[in-house]
């Protein structure tokens, strides 16, 4: 579904080393790594936000719909939650439904600045689900949330992935338990410049997904 | 007379509160234009540059302009036909209690000059002073500014003398805040030029004037009629008064007599030569002086 190969990414200093990866439909990947290693940078590249590095999509030529939960909420502060969701194509009904699912029922008319950070992050998650993405990119979806809320959302995402088996997910997390619960594979970013290391499969629905998984990982020398 | 719409139109730009407006308004009001077989169309403008712009952009056929400007346009390649309007150059006024009584007294004083260094009155004054061995520009403190500001500065004693347009001078005098040191037309005599030279005129683009010679003739005739009426018949002024913005009767009288005094005699060869001489005196190179064909002469 998505193929990506590049020699490296650097700002002032080199951040990512040479990486080559492939994501298939239905892949459930958790991306782990220490703070500052380059996880967000990699997600941005996958989302097509890097002007130099472009991933190529394979399979049906239709452009990939991407749902990206950024590390900060990135809601439009001058639009209410309903409006923010409407901007990605969710009508009022669907928006209300999604907000209810992330525990924000009744907050649709509020502006992002009137929310707590955790609430704003959940609203951003709702937006990211609203696009019915082919590829779901989640940058620490459960940060700033209490454990109950976090597991609730975990359940929500798992259900969603189960419902649409062709949806792929890459989820950044620092919590191995999240990784276990959500993903069928784990990717580790390590070192400086960072290399990608693939790790064992998770549990549950993951096993099945794993068999189809075609992640290729070439830690090539530059 | 023919119906108005079939009459040839003559478009003139006119300063709303300019002195030319007085006689033009009279022409229109009394229907002198229709009598002469043309329709006078006035385009009021707010100030001199606007009037010049109107002429240059061919929005109007003619405008009031002073001789030096016409000369400079001629030098720039835009010849203009010059129909005499007035011989009033302007005046040098001083405070009523001023000790200045001669040109020589102006040395070292604060002098305000309307219209800038190119203003003809100022140039002439400098000429005459130079004749008396006085370099005014160097020995006095010169302030160029808009005429209303100069009037006000004189009233407040911030200037000792002001070289300004005659109607500003007339108003100052009528209200008692200035007296005339000398009318600048006296300077012409000192420079041994003809008296009452028309330094202001109605000007038309030369090529247009040649094509519409007859129209210009009719206009000149209407002008003559109006000037005669205004000179000989004080009642004629009643309708013009609204345009004069005279605060009181004294001002009104001063403006009225000032205007009449400025009516120039018709041009003849000698007077045209004198005008050309004036141009030379104000610094025009001899070979670039306007030819006499550009000065309008009335048919006898």
């Amino acid at each position: 579904m998505l193929e990506l190969t590049f020699e490296g990414k650097s700002y002032q200093q080199s951040v990512l080393g040479p990486i080559s990866l492939r994501i298939h439909r239905g892949d459930r990947i958790c991306l782990l790594g220490p703070s500052g290693v380059g996880k967000t940078t990699l997600l941005n590249i996958l989302a097509g936000l890097d002007t130099e590095i472009r991933a190529t999509t394979t399979g049906p030529s239709r452009e990939l719909r991407i749902g990206y939960l950024f590390q900060e909420p990135r809601l439009l502060p001058w639009r209410t939650l309903y409006q923010n969701l409407a901007l990605v194509g969710a009508n009022r009904e669907r928006a209300a439904h999604l907000l209810g699912q992330v525990g924000l029922a009744g907050s649709g008319h509020r502006y992002p600045d009137q929310l707590s950070l955790g609430m704003a992050r959940r609203a951003a998650l709702a937006r990211c689900l609203a696009v019915q993405p082919d590829l779901l990119l989640l940058d620490e979806p459960f940060a700033s949330l209490d454990p109950e809320r976090a597991s609730e959302l975990q359940g929500l995402i798992t259900r969603l992935l189960d419902q649409s088996p062709s949806m792929a997910m890459v989820c950044v997390t620092h919590d191995e338990r999240d990784a276990q619960a959500l993903a069928s594979q784990s990717w580790w970013l390590e070192g400086s410049p960072a290399r990608l290391r693939v790790a064992g499969a998770g549990r549950g629905a993951a096993a099945e997904a794993d068999s189809r998984s075609g992640l290729t990982l070439l830690g090539r020398r530059a | 007379p023919l119906a108005a719409e079939t009459l040839p139109a003559l478009r003139l730009s006119v300063l709303q509160y300019g002195t030319a407006h007085w006689e033009l308004d009279y022409i229109q009001r009394e229907g002198l234009d229709r009598q002469q077989g043309f329709a006078l169309e006035l385009h009021p403008v707010a100030n001199l540059p606007a009037s010049r712009l109107a002429l240059t952009s061919k929005t109007v056929d003619g405008a009031v302009a002073d001789l030096l400007w016409v000369q400079s346009r001629y030098e720039a390649g835009a010849a203009l036909l010059y129909v005499p309007f007035s011989s009033r150059i302007g005046e040098v006024v001083v405070a009523p209690d001023s000790s200045i009584s001669r040109i020589a007294d102006l040395a070292g004083k604060r002098i305000g000059v309307a219209g800038g260094p190119d203003s003809k009155g100022w140039i002439l004054l400098q000429r005459v002073a130079a004749g008396q061995g006085l370099d005014l520009a160097a020995s006095s403190e010169i302030q160029y500014a808009a005429p209303p500001l100069l009037s006000e500065a004189l009233r407040r004693g911030r200037l000792d003398a002001v070289v300004t347009y005659w109607h500003f001078a007339a108003r100052l005098q009528a209200e008692g805040s200035a007296r005339t040191l000398m009318p600048l037309s006296d300077l012409l005599v000192e420079l041994s030029l003809a008296d009452q030279l028309p330094v202001l005129g109605y000007v038309f683009r030369d090529d247009w004037g040649r094509q519409n010679r007859e129209l210009v003739d009719r206009f000149a005739a209407a002008l003559r009629q109006a000037k005669q009426a205004l000179t000989n018949n004080p009642d004629a002024w009643a309708s013009v008064r609204a345009l004069m913005r005279a605060r009181d009767d004294r001002t009104f009288a001063a403006l009225q007599s000032g205007f009449v005094a400025g009516t120039p005699p018709a041009l003849d060869d000698e007077r045209i030569a004198s005008l050309q001489q004036l141009l030379l005196l104000t610094g025009t190179a001899p070979e670039r002086v306007m030819p006499s064909s550009l000065f309008y002469r009335e048919h006898p």
Partner: protein, 257 residues
């Protein structure tokens, strides 16, 4: 730090009466035709209004201001936006912008009048040419300080052009647009004055300069204040409500005015 979300109603009505009183006192003390008292000016205003002069000239001027304002804002915003977004476009056009910005109004006005004649389109065009660079310079700064994080968000979620414009860019440009609007209205009106002075036979600018020729300060003030009253009306009836609406989303601690 003041944090009240909206000051009480009286505050709007303090300064003008005070100013008026000051003016009155000063006029009384000076007793000069050069500073007529508010009453004299009011009287002049009434006279001009009664004779229909005021409405005619004010109407003509307002029409010119409105047309050229609309055109100048439209073009200026487009140009400023373009230059703010693209470094290359900016580098190419910046010298032209500096040139146009600093070309004296007089020059454009004269050239246009001379070429096109003293016609209405020349007047309007002259104003627009004078104003566009000013708007562009302000808007450019706004377009330069867009939040790149929201930009990326819009990229990922494939915002349409219209969505970017209305939901992403305009809200960020809003304060700059307001600054350009307020400063622009004032500037345009000042240019219109010059334009009318030089080549029109009606409008407030024409009246003002005629009044200047005869030093009729009371008429000068009457016409100026008539226009200012209109702008004040626009400010209270359009700009301020618009501003309040547009600032609704702000955190109350951050909301001012």
């Amino acid at each position: 730090m003041t944090t009240q979300s909206r000051p009480s109603g009286w505050t709007n009505w303090v300064a003008l009466p005070v100013l008026l009183a000051l003016w009155m006192a000063l006029a009384f003390a000076l007793d000069s035709a050069l500073l007529p008292s508010p009453l004299t000016v009011l009287q002049t205003l009434m006279e001009q209004a009664a004779s229909g002069q005021l409405w005619h000239h004010l109407g003509v001027t307002l029409y010119r201001v409105a047309v050229s304002f609309a055109l100048a804002m439209l073009l200026g915003i487009a140009l400023g936006f373009w230059m703010g977004r693209s470094a290359t476009v900016n580098a190419v056009l910046d010298p032209v912008l500096v040139l146009m910005l600093n070309l004296p109004a007089l020059v454009t006005i004269i050239l246009l009048y001379v070429w096109m004649g003293l016609v209405e389109p020349a007047a309007i065009l002259a104003v627009v040419i004078n104003k566009v660079p000013n708007v562009a310079v302000t808007i450019r700064e706004g377009a330069r300080s867009f939040d790149y994080k929201l930009e990326q968000m819009a990229e990922v979620y494939r915002f349409s052009g219209r969505q970017r414009l209305w939901d992403l860019w305009l809200p960020q440009l809003f304060p700059y647009v307001m600054a350009a609007t307020r400063g622009g209205l004032a500037l345009i009106w000042k240019i219109v004055l010059v334009v009318e002075l030089l080549g029109r036979s009606d409008g407030v600018g024409f009246q003002l300069h005629m009044a200047f020729q005869v030093f009729d300060v009371s008429a000068i003030l009457a016409y100026s204040l008539a226009f200012i009253a209109v702008v004040q009306l626009i400010e209270l009836a359009v700009l301020q409500p618009l501003e309040r609406r547009a600032h609704r989303w702000r955190h109350p601690e951050a909301r001012h005015a």
